[in-house]
Amino acid sequence: MDAVLDGGFVVRWLTAAAGLVEREAERLTELDSAIGDADHGANMQRGFAAVVKTVDTRPPGTPGAVLIAAGRQLISTVGGASGPLYGTLLRRAGKSLGEAPQVTVGELQTALRAGVKSVQELGGSAPGDKTMLDALVPGVEALATSFEAAAGAAEQGARDTVPMLARKGRASYLGERSIGHQDPGATSSALLFAALAEAAR
């Protein structure tokens, strides 16, 4: 776990994420139409398309700077619940990385952990509430093993939301009826970790 990551890596990560989101947008919307308002696919698409544009047109920066810019862009573009939450995740992680031109995977993990904590605070939510956190938390923890392990853990975390009762966000209005559906935000979080693994390959 001593690979060293630069700003270019983060750009590749976010670009891969945009690709996955584009590919899976319809599925995200489908999931959101079961327990939400059918816009998660469009929200993520709009956001990550803008992120790619931002990081592509800016001079290449440090990993922290790239993440902060991406987070800001999400906040300014997405709207909905996922915009501020994902935006905060990346922005806070970026801030935590500071100005180092290169960071280790361990440092990235620490940064993302800080980001996830901010998501919890902002959303007033916790793992088990059937939200993006249920994929983010296991994903970040499994980074200690490998990028691939993180992708797998996030994916499993997303799947694990199926039997959960939603307590936060729009899906919470469903009460018992939210059970049996996979959370769209957890699903898109799993895509972020899949993109991370892709960028690292």
Binding site: T29, S33, G36, D37, A38, D39, G41, A42, N43, R46, I75, S76, T77, V78, G79, G80, A81, S82, G83, P84, L85, L122, G123, R167, K168, G169, R170, S172, Y173, L174, G175, R177
Partner: protein, 328 residues
Amino acid sequence: MLINVPETVVADALRGMAAAHPELVVDVENRVVVRRDAPVAGKVALLSGGGSGHEPLHGGFVGPGMLDAACPGEVFTSPVPDQMVRAAAAVDSGRGVLFVVKNYTGDVLNFRMAAELAEDEGVQVATVLVDDDVAVTDSTFTAGRRGTGATLFVEKIAGAAAEEGMPLERVEALARQVVAGSRSFGVALSACSTPAKGGPTFELPDGQLELGVGIHGEPGRERRGMMTSREIAEVALEAVLEDLPPRLPVLVLVNGAGATPLLELYGFAAEVHRVLDERRVPVARTLVGNYVTSLDMAGCSVTLCQADEELLRLWDAPVQTAGLRWGR
């Protein structure tokens, strides 16, 4: 759908608003609708916004006596903080800005961020959350009651208060009083279709009703086979009155979800009045129409707002917006 492409639906609508309403300043690119004479000197400003698809809410309620600015998001998606920050700067006269926010996680988070950013820029911001929908029980285990029809009462009454020159704390307190005294219940007779999805966002078989539906088609309390207008009025008012038995005369909003003909909506209003009469609930005013819509959903909602003398006076005060107009 009567659209060009899903991606431009909101921008196209804003261009149309700009064309039809010279009394508004419509910034299509930045998605901000502002009354032309803003900032109004000495006046607290009212700012609201939310996902598009609920028109005339909120852009149709910008004007003298109601909102100073509205920030429309994508369809059914809350706006981004940049919009509210820009709008707040445009309407603040120095006496502060009240954010009127419907209680959805997305709106709450984006408006919260906007409030922080606007305060950084020296604007005094107060926020009132509207959460009137009794279909969703208010509990720490959910995102809380949703904001629906009461938004119109809050925007109208707080808007009139601001127009009278009341200070921010007073306008905010009145807005909170309206929220505390308002409850809603909605019913869907058909699902709504978003441009992005190109079809219904949920399944509602013909002849079935979703009781307690949310304004984005969020599920409600239960599904039932078709009911009469009379029965729907009973169920809706039962739910509303159980949650908040009124001790004052009420303002009544009989609201259409979008695709229910006004003819049917007036018939429903008659049943609403009949039930209220039977329960000896005095009605002060009744507003019937499509005010807080859900695109092309067929259905309706009822909102009651308990109104003391002051709220009633503020309700009756003049208002000049695209969607609500009376008085001078």
